[in-house]
Symmetry: D2
C-alpha cells in the first residue's frame, strides 16, 4: 500500500507560544514519530508560492492547514491551486482559526469565518458524536482541553457530511468542532481546537485525531471527475457492440 | 404574509429557440400568472451590473438564474455580490446549464461544470425521489420531456442536502436533476432540465417545480450569521443576572 | 389551506409536577391559543387503544408524543399503527424522554434509548444551529432553561437529516437536542427539553418551537409510497402511445 | 490487523438459477478467493436459528444477507438479534430483494419493501456517483448488467448517508442502487442488483463492490453506545480533581 505524503502548512515560521519550532513543526514531528506516513513536509506562507508549488502539491496526499492572522495576504492563485487539488482528490485538514481562511470559504461556499468567539482561557470538553468511524477510532467518549479559546455556534458552514465532535465550552457555548466535507474527490476534515497560545497539539487525543484524519483523507487513486462530451451514448455503444 | 419578490436572470436578451421573448420572460410570465408572488423582475447580463445592482438584489427574495454560453464574462464582483446575498438568506434557483456558472461553483466549492453531456434530442424522464416535500408537492411519480439535452453522472457536486429528482436519459445515463443545498441562510435549488432549444419551460410540471421551489427558497426573515466577539460569556451574563 | 389537526399524546392523565392538567393538556392549550391549528385533541395511554384508534390517527396530521416511565406497556399493535401512519405522511413530534419510546426506536432503527443522563436540576442552554428553517424561525441565537434534566452525547440515533439545536449542559455535556428525520412520507422532529418536574412547556421559546414544528411536520397531501408491479415499462408505454 | 470474519446468509440451500451451489456459496467463494478475509461462513434460513446463533453472530464482523421469497417466515427473535448486533457494530450488506426483509425495514424504520418493480430481463446500467470512496474504489464510471430485474423509484428508504450508485433501467426507470446507512455503530450497505435468475454475482464489478463493502463495513473495535446514568457530572469530576 502506497505511503501517504503529508504537507503541514503554517502561516508563520519559527517559535510561537508553547511551540518552540512552530505549530507546523510540532504537527510534523508527531506524524513522523507515528511511523504511519511517507514524506512529511512542512511549508509556510513566507516561502515562495507559500511553499505550495505545483510540484509540492502534486506530491501531497494530505495537506494540513493552520493559519490565523494572515488569511488576507494568501495569494488567490495559490488558494485556487489548493482548491483544484482538493477537487482532484487531495485530502485537506483545516485546523482551528483556519476556519477563516480563503481556502475553507472557497471550498464550502459560506462565510465560514462567521462564528462566535472569545479570546478565553477556558475549559473545552470535546465530545465524540460518532464511534466506529476512522477519525474517532480509539478515542474516549470525551476529553478535556484545560485552556482553550472559545469558538461557538452559530457557525456559518453547510451541513457537514459527518459531524464527529461537538465541543462544550466553560463559558456556556457549544460548537461543531469536528466535521467532514467532501468536495469533488477530496475529503476535508475541520477540527476546531488549536489556539497558538496553548499546548493543544501536544495532547495525545488531538494527535490521534490528526493522525486518524490524515489517513482517512488520503486519496484512493481515482481519477478526478471530468467534463465529458459523450457524443456516442452508452446505449448506442451497447447496441453497436451487439450488432458487430 | 409578505409577498415573495423574484428576479429572473438570463445571460441574453431577446428571442431564443421556442422562447419568443427569451427564457427569462417565459419564466417571469408563468410566475406572474400564478399570482403567488410579489414583484417579478427580469435582469440580463448585457445590462449595467448585469441588472443585479445592490438595490435589485436587496429587494430580491429569490433569484432564478439561467445561463449557458457566457459564464466567463460575468463579472467577479457581481458573482461575489450574489454569493453574499445568498449567505444572507436570498434564495437561488440554478437552472440547466447554469451548473457551469461562476456563482454555482463558488457556492458549492466544486467544479460543478464537470459532468457528462451530449447535445442530444432524446427523451428525459424525471423521477420524483422525495414526496411530501414543498418542491415536489403535487407532482406525479414521473414526467417525460420528449426532447432534452443529456446531462449525466458523475456530476461534480457535494452531496446535496436533499435529492428530489433523478433523470433517466434515453441514451443510457442517469442524473441527479433536482437537488437542494443550503449556504449560510440561503436555500439553493438546482434543476437540470431546460435547454434553450426545447420548450421545456412551457411544460406544466416544470412550471410547477419552479413555482414550488421559489416559494420554498424564500427567506423567513432571520438575521445573517455573523462573526461575533463575545467578550462576556453567556455563563458570566447568567450568573451576573442572578447576583443583581 | 387545510387546517392542521394535532393530537397530543401522553402516558399519564392528570396533574404532574407544575402541570396542573398534565403535560398533554398544557401543550394542547398553547396550540389552541395560537389559533393556527384545526382540531387539537389529547389522547393518553390509559384509554382504550391508548386513545389512538384508527379513526383518531386517520384524522391526525401531526402527533405529539410525550412519555417517560411506561414505554414498556405501550401495545406493539398501536406502535405499529403509528409507524404505518408516519410512513404514510403523518408528522410526529417526539418530546424529551420519549426518546426511549418503542415508536422512536422503531422509526429510527437504533437504540435511541441509549444516551448519557443525569436526574439534575441544572441550566440547559439551547443553541440554534440552523436559521432560516421553519422550525427555528423567529428564535434567538440561544435561550436558557433554568432547571433541566441532563441528556448528553453519545446519543444512539442515525445522523439526523437536519440538526437544528445543540444543548449545553451546566454539568459539562452537550446534546443534539433538536433533530429532524424523515421516514416514508412522514416528517419527525425530536426535541429534547421537557422533564415533567420543570415548567419547560410554559416557556415561550419552547412553545414557539413546538408550534413551528407542528406546522412543518404536517403532510402536504401526497400519496404514500407503494409497492408497484409495473408489468408494462414507461418506455413501452411511451412508444406505444406514439405508434397509436 | 485483525482479519474480517464474514457470514453469508441465504434463505435457501442448494442450487438456484445459474448458481450451482446457491447464491450464498457463490458469494462465499469469491470472498475466500480474494484472500482478504478471515473466516468466511455461510448460514441459511432452514438451519436451526436460521444458522445465526449467538455464537455465530458474535464471531461475525460483517453479515451479507440475500433473501427473496421467505421474508415472512424469518423468526422475529433472530431479526432482533441481528438488529442488536448491527447497533453494536457488526456490518451488514443487504443484497437485492432483501430490501423487503424484516431486518432492513427494522433498521431503516421505513416500508423498504415499497418500490417499483418488474420481473424483467432488461439491461441495467450501474452508474458510480461517488469516487474516492472505499466501496467504489477501482470501479469504472459505469458498468452494464445484460439481464436484470427492474427495481425503480420511488423507493421507500430514509435519505441514505451516502448515495454511491444509481441504476439506469432499459424500460425507463432509475434506482438508488447503492446506498449506505449507519445504525448505532453498525455500517449498512444496500446493493440492488442480484436477481436469482441471472449470473450477476459472477460479474467482476459486482464482486469488487461486495469485497470493498465488506471491508468498509467491518467494525473498528469501538464499544457500543450505552445508556449511562452519570450521577457525577464531568464538571464535578474536573473540579474535584483540581481540589485534591
Amino acid at each position: 500500500m502506497k505511503k501517504i505524503n503529508v504537507t503541514v502548512w503554517d502561516e508563520t515560521q519559527g517559535p510561537i507560544g508553547p511551540y518552540s519550532n512552530g505549530i507546523y513543526q510540532a504537527i510534523a514531528d508527531f506524524l513522523v514519530e507515528s511511523g504511519q506516513f511517507g514524506k512529511v513536509r512542512t511549508a509556510t506562507q513566507p516561502e515562495p508560492e507559500h511553499g505550495l508549488t505545483m510540484e509540492v502539491l502534486a506530491d501531497t496526499d494530505v495537506l494540513i492547514y493552520w493559519a490565523h492572522n494572515h488569511h488576507g495576504t494568501v495569494e488567490d492563485e495559490i488558494v485556487e491551486r489548493i482548491r483544484k487539488r482538493v477537487n482532484e482528490g487531495m485530502g485537506l485538514l483545516i485546523l482551528h482559526s483556519a476556519h477563516g481562511s480563503k481556502i475553507f470559504a472557497k471550498l464550502l461556499g459560506t462565510d465560514a469565518l462567521h462564528l462566535r468567539w472569545r479570546e478565553a482561557s477556558e475549559v473545552e470538553r470535546v465530545w465524540k458524536i460518532e464511534s466506529n468511524h476512522p477519525i474517532t477510532a480509539g478515542l474516549p467518549d470525551y476529553f478535556e482541553i484545560p485552556k482553550s479559546e472559545m469558538y461557538g455556534e452559530q457557525f456559518c458552514i453547510p451541513t457537514p457530511d459527518e459531524l464527529l465532535f461537538i465541543s462544550w465550552h466553560q463559558g456556556g457555548e457549544v460548537f461543531r468542532s469536528g466535521c467532514t466535507f467532501k468536495r469533488g474527490n477530496g475529503k476535508i476534515f475541520f477540527f476546531a481546537p488549536g489556539h497558538e497560545g496553548f499546548p493543544i497539539y501536544y495532547m495525545p487525543e488531538v494527535q490521534q485525531i490528526i493522525i486518524n484524519a490524515s489517513k482517512w483523507a488520503a486519496p484512493l487513486g481515482d481519477e478526478p471527475i471530468k467534463l465529458q462530451n459523450v457524443t456516442k451514448s452508452p446505449e448506442a455503444l451497447r447496441i453497436g457492440d451487439k450488432t458487430e
